[in-house]
Symmetry: C2
Subunit: 203 residues, 2 copies
């Protein structure tokens, strides 16, 4: 589980203030205003399922999968707070206060009338947030919540999550290369990181 | 493509009026107010990616997959307009005017730093909506948009989509059995259809 969260992650939880979603003519009060506890932990953003959906993968991994994974499947889905999504539409990058939630969920093949493929079950296997906030030296931090909803402490700034996202995230340490509706915006706004562009060029 | 849309569907497009999302303490003007053309076609709800995400499957099918599908993968994701989602939280069923969008999207395994599993690509392979509206004899209609964004005519009320959803949809002709955050609500509110309960009991 730990390795999984680490390898697929791209998420977080904080949103600075009440803001309005200006995308597509609609308007929505940002539900993503996360809060820190007095001792600096992040409160779990319980309403993230009403945030903006970015994408889902099945069994994604940035490392070769071990044999023990065979036959076990997981979906990973990423959500972002509405105000930050609206900002990305205009700028191709994230404002301070952007919050992402990665949700890892069980997968099942047979059930009800489904005969093949995989669908999502009610079992949440883990959740992690990724927050853009100047209080952290790098400007970003990861908060693993596991299967609970209690406040979570930030991972160290030198965590594998931080290092991988800094090295490979297409836009400002986030994995926009896996978010199909954001990728064309970043391309148009030319907001890809230098590291990502170099990596893609060398591919 | 046609069979695929037919077998996995659960979607639509209309939302009666401006409404407010009351879920989880947030408030959002419903962006899902879809419109019909003068000749009764449904306008494509262009802002559906800011609606509420319900779930994603990979290669789901309600029929055994043909050999020709081997090696080809697709994600199907379902979104619902915010006002109808908020209503479901309270009642366990859908209000008149509920609108669902099914999005079928390409899948890819290798790309950027991903080594295994599948992630979503920028290729949209089809979209279909499912609308609850008293103007239709059964109270529901499907609108296939294909890969375009032009207005779509409703499928006949006796279409395979209609028949399958009427026979197997867990709640009011919708496939809530595949929407993990809604399934426990329907269970608690006891809003499963008689047909679905009988089918599960016989399993």
């Amino acid at each position: 589980m730990k390795r999984r969260l680490l390898t697929i992650s791209a998420c977080g939880a904080l949103a600075v203030a009440v803001a309005f979603l200006a995308a597509a003519g609609s308007q929505a009060q940002a539900p993503g205003a996360a809060r820190y506890t007095a001792d600096g932990k992040l409160e779990f953003p319980k309403d993230y399922r009403t945030w903006i959906y970015l994408s889902t993968g099945l069994d994604m991994s940035y490392l070769p999968l071990p044999a023990s994974m065979m036959g076990h499947h997981m979906f990973d889905s990423v959500f972002v707070d509405p105000a930050s999504y609206a900002a990305f539409q205009k700028t191709g990058t994230w404002p301070d206060g952007a919050v992402f939630v990665l949700e890892v969920r069980g997968a099942q093949d047979k059930g009800s009338i489904n005969k093949s493929g995989q669908y999502q079950t009610t079992t949440v296997m883990g959740r992690e947030t990724h927050v853009k906030d100047k209080r952290f030296a790098s400007g970003w931090a990861f908060f693993p919540f596991g299967t609970g909803e209690g406040p979570a402490a930030a991972l160290p700034q030198a965590s594998d999550c931080n290092k991988c996202h800094e090295a490979h995230g297409a836009v400002d340490t986030t994995m926009v290369q896996f978010y199909p509706t954001l990728l064309p915006i970043a391309e148009a706004k030319k907001t890809f990181s230098a590291a990502y562009l170099a990596e893609e060029k060398a591919r």
